[in-house]
């Protein structure tokens, strides 16, 4: 008999995180580890799970970095690598940005199935990381119908 898959849910703090949390019914009741860039979100995630009667999730925070901060980005990369190797999720879902990109790339090394939901903020073209992650995303999604193509990115819906 199959046991339910183990999930890793990844987003940098801020808009990416807020969007991803709106999708949490997709993993309601599953074994989940959250990964983000703001340690203060730990309490919020655990309180939310308790209030909704969901199992208490695991939580990992990694260094915050944007594409111009090379040293911080390198640190984040290693932290995400260790987290993926340690938790060995069966599925990884992310709305970006950098930590989600790294998680999907490392996820493919351990044969996880991967989901990229490009941020709703990218209404005119896909994000840079969203374009680059194409090869590593089993489900490669945009949140805007007019950006969807027959060979991807696909459109399944929008968080708002």
């Amino acid at each position: 008999m199959r046991s339910p898959p183990k999930l890793m849910v990844v987003a940098s703090a801020g808009g990416h995180w807020v969007q991803l949390m709106r999708l949490r019914k997709a993993w309601d009741g599953l074994d989940v580890v959250y990964m983000t860039t703001e340690p203060g979100l730990c309490d919020i995630v655990k309180t939310m799970a308790r209030d909704e009667g969901a199992p208490s999730p695991k939580f990992i925070s990694v260094t915050d970095a944007n594409l111009t901060e090379k040293a911080r980005l390198a640190r984040q990369l290693f932290e995400v690598l260790f987290a993926v190797l340690r938790h060995r999720p069966d599925v990884i879902i992310t709305t970006g940005a950098a930590p989600g990109y790294f998680a999907l790339r490392f996820g493919k090394l351990i044969k996880a199935r991967t989901i990229w939901v490009d941020s709703m903020a990218n209404a005119e073209k896909l994000s840079k990381s969203g374009k680059e992650v194409r090869k590593y995303a089993d489900l490669w999604l945009t949140q805007w119908e007019h950006l969807a193509q027959s060979d991807g990115p696909h459109f399944m819906g929008r968080v708002l």
Binding site: R2, R22, A26, W27
Partner: protein, 168 residues
Amino acid sequence: MIFLTTGTQLPFDRLVRAVDAWAEAAQPGCEIFGQVLSPPEAPYRPRNFETRTRLSPAEYAEIFEKARLIVSHAGMGTILTALTRGKQICIMPRQVKYGEHRSDHQLATVERLGAHPGLHKARDEHDLAGCLDRALAEGESLQIATIDPFAAADFSDRLRAFILSTEK
């Protein structure tokens, strides 16, 4: 209280200046609090309200709850949080030509976002004062419809189906 937030990633002094000018001209004595990241070189110090660079998620949630109006960059996080909590929000997009972001995606956000009760869009700093006045006027006369805290069920159901179809 009015809560001004620029997000934690990049400065947005054009918005801070515009809110400060509006407060001085139109709303003397109006209580405003700002979560403002300023450029390290020549930061703008507002004359009409206090600011802090960073807030913890718990502090942010507390101030957000108290505010009757949110003023922010056109970032999806703040917009979604305001609509979920039933707050009036004025958004103004960051622009690359002023060095405010790495792309002009916030212009597209403002253009593409549908109409929602309580969501007010300002094109730029010249448009902001009118936008703030409209939001305040509406806030006192309208009960705002709030959006659901979850995305539409068909979207999360399809993602769930994909997740559950995974062989362990």
